[in-house]
Every structure is written in C-alpha cells, then in structure tokens.
C-alpha cells in the first residue's frame, strides 16, 4: 500500500488536505484541474516538498511522518520522478543524463535495461547531444528514461507524455503497463489525457482545489457523478471487467466474455482466460429498438433501458442494463424521444468494435 | 601656476617627519593664527606628485636624493634649501633581549645574529634608512657577512613591528624611529663616518613662494621649531 495522508498550507490561500491509500503494484492516477494540487502530492511523496503534517508510507515503511518526526531524505526514497519540466543536467550529454541514476543504483538490481529504454524512447540518435539542443519532446523523453534507469521502486510521473505525439505515446504506454504488471512497480501518474489515465490506471484519485473529490478503483471513480466537472462530459464511459474467451487469428480479433455476453475487440495479447478490461465510451454506444441486421457493427448487446436523463443541450444520458451490469450510452434528446426510450424498454446496444479499448489488469489483487 | 596669496600652504613632508611637523604646525597656528596643511607620504611619492603639478608649497624630504631630483627637474627652489635637522643610525633590539654593543669593524655580527637571525631595516636599495644601513655596514666591511640576514621593510613602522614582536633579532633604524616605541631598545649607534650625513633638506616649491608659505618655511628653522625637533629625537644642527 502507498498510504498518503498529508496537509500542506501554501502562502496565497491554497491548502492541500488529502488522504488516500493506493495499491503498491499498480498505477494510481492523480486527476484534477490545473492548480488542484497534483504536483504538490507527487512532490511530497518524492520528498521535494515537506508537508506541514501527516504521513506518507510505502508498504508500511514511512517516508514521512510528522508525528514520529520521520522524514526520509529524497535520495533514500528511490522514487523515480519525471518532473513537469524536464530538469535535465545541462553539463552532461544525454547519455550521461540517462546513466546518472543508473550508476547510483545497486548493480545487481537493474532490471530496467539501458538499451531497452533508449530503444523504447527513440533517443538512440541523441545520446551524444547536450540537453539544450533537444526539442521539447526529446527532452521529455530523456527525462522519462533517466527516471526509469534509476531503477526506482516507485515511479512519480507528472504529465510525462504531454509533449509527445500520439505515435510515441502509443509506444510508451504499453511499456509503462509492462513495468506496472511485470515489475509490480507502483506508479503515481498525473495526466490530463483521460485516455491515458483510463488505460493505465488501476486507481484514480480525483482532486479539486486541494481536497479529495473521489478516490478508488478506476471503474468506480470514473462513473461517479462527482467526477463530471473534473473529467468533462464527452469522455464518460463504462469500464467492463472481462476474460479473454477466444482469439480469432484470421481477422485479428479477440472475444471477451463479460457479464452481459461477449465483446469483439482487436486482438488482445493475453492467454485465454486472462482477465482484461474494456472501456466503452458512452458516445460510442448507439441504441436500436430492433436488432439491426447487416451492419458493420460487430458488438450488438441485448439490453434494457434502466434510466433516461434528458440533459440541457442536445444530449440525453441513457443507462442500459446488460446482463447483471450497466452500460452508459449518450444519444441526442431528439433520438431519445423519437425512439421513445423509457425505463424497462428492451433495446439493442450497438458498439463499434473499433471503439472498444482493452487492457490487462489484475482485478482480484485490488478489489 | 600661481597660488593665491591667502591660500593655506600645503606642506609635503616625509612620513618619518609626521610627528615633528604636526607639533610644529600646531605651534605655528597657536602663534600666528594661520593654518598649514600637511601631507605625509614617502619622499618618492611626494616628489612624483610635485612632478605632476601638485600645488604644494614646501617639500621636506627624508633624504637628499629626492630633493636633488626635484631640484633638477626645476620643481623646487634650490636657493631655499635648508637642512636644519639630521638623524643618526642606530641598532635596536626587542626591549627584553637588549644588551649594548659597540658597532665597529670588529663587531661580530655572526655571533650577534645567530645562524638564522634576522636584521631588519628599510629596503636596502630604495628606502633611505635601508640604503644608509647598507652603506654603513659596507663601510664597516661587514655587509657581505650580514647580507643574508638582512630583511627590508617597506617603512620604518613595519621594521619596528618586526623587532617589537621579536620576529627579527635586531633592526637598523633612525634614532627618531627608535623613540616611537618602548618595546625596542637602542643597543648601539653606527659611527657617523660610516655613512653619509643623514639630512632632511627642506625647499620651497617653485611658483608657490607665497608669503604664507615663506612664513611657515621660516618658522621651520626658528628656535621654537628646533626645540620641537629636538624633542622628537632628531639631531638638530
């Protein structure tokens, strides 16, 4: 467990008061608007900022405990910190920057390999360069590599991928997932990109003006109404726990079994029976009264309307019951009236295959 | 350059005359109600300042060389030279260890100074007291023996300090300097014929011979001044 329960007062009116616990082997996303206190929490864990009071502990071992007068020095915490600004050492080449933490780690405990990281981040051609000659994204990549190579026992990442292009992100995210899963490296992760958060995170801590709004497993928190002002309307969705039930080699697809039946998704590189998680964005769910025939949509689920919330503006939220679970859909108010959607109505939910995100995760360990 | 008659004359005097000149200045002001301004520095600095047009009225050098220099350059008035005072060259030791000696050709410097004892004086190639000391020791035929023990200080005060503190075994200074501090004792006087006469020539600066300057210049050779000089330890002629 990562236990955090701290209080910090800043001159100028901001105060942070947050307490939560996160699993040691997983990604905890810190979520909140600009100025909510995300960086402040990360800094407290790293030891860069000293809380006014409270306690921070990893697996029961305290990093900070104002009651007991404990404040472990930064370097002894071994928390790899990817700063919001890159903070590369200007007097060292990219390679020496990368090696800085590595050389200071125990030689026998270097599971994160230099070559692998360089390859992953695509910075091989930059090794001899100096930081001031790098572009914004290059700098950020080197900073990520440097933190990883310090072989941390905890990763603190403050918007690490903000300056990176989609393609690079798509390469780095699976690596972070691997770190999380294979090395069971706990990660505290700040990002404004909901996709990233949903993909990586096991646990979400939502902050608002220095106070906890919600904290808990991703599935729960991201569907909580308190989270709306933080996340914004468009990206609401449903997280569904599934197990891999079949692979379709021919079409490069996989079937995932879940409470309401089966979902077809692009091939998941997991063995049959493995637990995985799928996300269905509400905006990607269409509703039909009769089973649509001959459509390109491969996921058709029989459902019952449980609730229809007409919103201001053009939209309506629809909560569907699928098997024993729920699925959120978003349609226009006009469609809701046209189809006369009402609780109890049996409908078909249409989910385009391509709109299903999937990820591996270890549900038992957390819930 | 014309100096205005009512201006307070500026007197350039060698540092070693600080004491005496200040007292004479006070006496002069007490007597006449007129003021004089002094500048005390090394004779060389003063001479060079005169050379660059310093509007001083009177130059009192610590040795004849610098006075000759200003004369040659036409800076001071040769005709006005007076040398009312002189000095003698003495050997001093820290008060505690002092024992009188006789400074003649047979004086055993080696025994006196020991293996690595130091004899401190002014710089032997530039500071007048050092030059006199070197000349005296040479004429006594002992320079070569003593040479390696000689330490040159920038001014008399520094030399005195070294002797006072016991850092140097002994020192060669003017008798006036020895009078400054109780922590040193004069243990011997160099024979007057072992070195050129130690003299303090005074001259009026060219173009500055105002009545005020002349008045003070005259006062410098008056009996009152001589008495003050005598009290300060110089040899009054």
């Amino acid at each position: 467990m990562i236990e955090i329960d701290i209080r910090i007062d800043r001159p100028g009116g901001f105060s942070l008061e947050a307490g939560f616990a996160a699993p040691t082997s997983g990604v905890t996303a810190l979520f909140g608007r600009s100025g909510a206190g995300k960086t402040t929490i990360i800094q407290s864990v790293a030891g860069v900022v000293r809380p006014d009071s409270g306690r921070i502990a990893i697996d029961g071992e305290p990093f900070f405990d104002s009651a007991r007068g404990i404040d472990v020095p930064i370097e002894a915490r071994r928390a790899g910190y990817v700063f919001q600004d890159a903070r590369l050492f200007p007097h060292m080449s990219v390679e020496r920057n990368l090696r800085y933490g590595e050389r200071r780690s125990r030689a026998k405990e270097r599971p994160i390999r230099f070559e692998a990281v360089v390859e992953l981040l695509g910075i091989g051609h930059l090794l001899a360069r100096r930081p001031h000659t790098l572009s914004g994204g290059e700098r950020q990549r080197v900073a990520i590599g440097r933190a990883l190579l310090a072989q941390p026992r905890l990763l603190l990442m403050d918007e690490p991928l903000a300056a990176l292009d989609a393609a690079r992100k798509a390469e780095i995210l699976p690596y972070l997932e691997r770190l999380r899963d294979e090395m069971r490296l706990p990660i505290l992760y700040v990002s404004h990109a909901i996709d990233e958060v949903l993909r990586l995170a096991d646990m979400v801590v939502a902050l608002r003006e220095g106070r906890l709004v919600a904290a808990g497993p991703v599935g729960e928190v991201m569907s909580a109404p308190e989270i709306l002002p933080v996340v914004g309307r468009f990206d609401l969705g449903t997280l569904i726990a599934c197990t891999v039930s079949r692979h379709d080699e021919r079409y490069g697809l996989s079937d995932l079994a879940f409470f309401g039946g089966s979902l077809r998704v692009p091939r998941v590189e997991m063995p049959i029976g493995a637990p995985v998680r799928a996300r269905v964005r509400a905006r990607d769910v269409a509703i039909a009264l009769a089973r649509p025939e001959e459509v390109s949509v491969s996921n058709l689920l029989l459902a019952t309307v449980e609730e229809v919330r007409l919103l201001e503006g053009p939209y309506a939220d629809v909560v569907l019951k699928v098997g024993e679970g729920h699925l959120a859909a978003m349609v226009t108010r006009e469609s809701a009236e046209r189809l006369a959607l009402r609780p109890g109505l049996a409908v078909w939910a249409m989910i385009k295959t391509v709109a299903v995100d999937s990820r591996t995760t270890d549900f038992e360990a957390r819930e | 350059r014309e100096a205005r008659a009512d201006e307070t004359p500026i007197v350039f005097a060698a540092s070693s005359l600080t004491n005496a000149f200040q007292d004479i200045g006070k006496a002069y002001t007490a007597k006449t109600g007129k003021k004089v301004t002094f500048s005390f520095a090394g004779s060389s600095a003063l001479a060079k300042q005169l050379q660059s047009g310093a509007p001083a009225s009177i130059f009192a050098s610590a040795d004849t060389k610098w006075m000759d220099f200003t004369e040659e350059k036409g800076l001071t008035l040769k005709d006005t030279r007076v040398t009312p005072i002189g000095n003698s060259l003495v050997l001093i030791m820290p008060a505690g260890t002092a024992k009188p000696v006789t400074l003649d050709k047979s004086f055993d410097w080696k025994a006196f100074l020991g293996a690595d004892g130091k004899l401190v004086t002014g710089l032997t190639d530039s500071v007048p007291v050092g030059i006199y000391a070197k000349t005296a020791l040479t004429s006594l035929g002992q320079w070569d023996t003593v040479k390696s023990h000689v330490v040159g200080a920038e001014n008399v005060r520094a030399a005195l300090a070294l002797v006072e503190r016991g850092e140097a075994t002994a020192g060669v200074v003017y008798s006036t300097d020895a009078a400054i501090t109780k922590d040193v004792k004069v243990v011997g006087t160099f024979p007057a014929d072992s070195h050129p006469a130690i003299e303090y020539p005074f001259e009026i600066v060219k173009g500055q011979d105002t009545p005020a300057a002349k008045a003070f210049f005259d006062f410098l050779v008056s009996p009152e001044a001589k008495e003050i000089f005598a009290n300060s330890g110089v040899v009054v002629k």
Binding site: - | R1, I10, F12, S15, S16, T18, N19, Q22, T37, F38, S39, F40, A41, A45, L46, K48, Q49, Q51, S52, G53, A54, P55, A56, V156, R157, A179, I180, T181
Partner: protein, 229 residues
C-alpha cells in the same frame, strides 16, 4: 570615542567609498555587459585593462593615475582646462582612485550575475514588443540586481580599504584625501599612534560589518522581489 580628526577621516572615507561606488557602478554594469554580451575587436584587451588595477601594485596604479589625471597629466590637464576639474589633492581624486581600484571587483561580480540571467526571458520580452534597451532595464537589470548589490558591496569595501593608489595619487591631506587607511598609516608614524591605529581599525571593521548587514538585508529583499529567495 574618536578624536575630531578621526571623525573627519571616517566621514571622508564614507564619502569617498560611497561616491566611488556610486559613480563607478553604471560603468561597471556597462563594462560587464560589454564583456558578457557583446563582441567587438579588442575585447580581449579591454578585458585585460579592466582587470589591470587588480594585478598591478596599487602604488603603480596611483602613479599611472598621477601621470594621466594629475594636473600635468595627459588627460588631467584638459580636465582642468576645459571643465575646471582638479583631481590632485582633492576628495574627487581620492574618489577616482578608489573607483579605479574597485572597478575590476564590481565588474566581475556584475558580470557573473549577468551571465546567470536566463536569456530565454530576454527573448520572451522582445517578442512582447520590448526593444533591447527596454529589455535591459525591465528584465536583465532587475534579475542581476543581486550581482550588482554584491558588486557595490565589494566596491564599497575595497574603497574603504584603499591605500596605495590614494596616497600616491592624491597624497595624504587631512579633510581632503586622508581616508581611514591613510589616517591609520599616519598614526603608525606617531610615537603614541597605536591606540589611534587600533581605534580606526575597529571603526573599519564596524563599517564593514555594518555595510555587510545592510547589504544582506537589501539582498534578501531583492531576492524576494525577483523570486529567487
């Protein structure tokens, strides 16, 4: 506590140190800027000339001043003839001597501070419509204030301690050029001058500690102001 003539020396010292610092500072900033930010033919030589007063014995510096700025000096004669400025024997001369001696020290401090100013901020200011000069006064100068203060302090301290160049250039005249160091020197020539020398040394120490204290207070305020506290 102090005799009237000692007070005069203290007052004169403060005056000389203050004005030497005051007048030399803008030139020091300019020189630092030239050395750190511009390039021109003969810059190396200029660099050398700036540091010269530090390397040369102060007495030599005094002589050089005498030769150039004295009443018959190569520059001094025109200063006198054209502007009626007389440096020899005057407090102004002592101020010049102190300024020249302390110049390399303040230039060095200011230059180091200038080099530490983030040029990215200057660029940003220019994109916001500020001319180079405007940028200098609104961005660069405030950000290098700690260095300027440090340079001023060094200049003040060095001026308070200056002896060799002063006595050589402007002599040792009470109330005009006899600053504390010269007064201490004169005191050591007197039979009973030790007490006075010690008194004046103590005064020097007190002045130094006082200006340091003042400087560190100002420094703290400056740092808060420029967000580097």
């Amino acid at each position: 506590m102090l005799t009237p003539e000692e007070w005069v020396a203290v007052y004169l010292s403060l005056k000389v140190a203050f004005w030497a610092t005051f007048w030399s500072l803008p030139f020091a900033v300019l020189a630092a800027w030239l050395l750190a930010r511009s390039s021109f033919p003969g810059k190396g030589l200029f660099d050398g000339v700036v540091y010269l007063p530090l390397v040369l014995p102060k007495v030599v510096v005094g002589y050089i001043l005498l030769l150039t700025l004295g009443a018959r000096g190569s520059i001094g004669q025109y200063l006198d003839a054209w502007f009626g400025i007389k440096l020899i024997f005057t407090t102004a001369g002592a101020t010049v001597a102190a300024a020249v001696i302390s110049f390399p020290l303040s230039v060095n401090a200011i230059r180091l501070a200038l080099e530490a100013v983030d040029r990215g901020l200057e660029t940003a200011a220019r994109t916001l419509g500020a001319s180079r000069l405007d940028v200098f006064f609104s961005i660069t100068l405030p950000l290098m204030l700690p260095g300027i203060l440090s340079g001023a302090l060094l200049s003040l301290a060095a001026s308070l301690g200056e002896f060799g160049a002063t006595i050589t250039f402007v002599s040792n005249i009470e109330g005009r050029t006899r600053t504390i160091p010269l007064a201490i020197y004169s005191a050591t020539q007197l039979p009973d001058g030790d007490a006075m020398a010690i008194r004046l040394t103590v005064v020097s120490v007190v002045l130094a500690l006082g200006s340091l204290l003042l400087a560190s207070l100002v420094d703290r305020r400056i740092r808060v102001m420029i967000g580097r506290a």
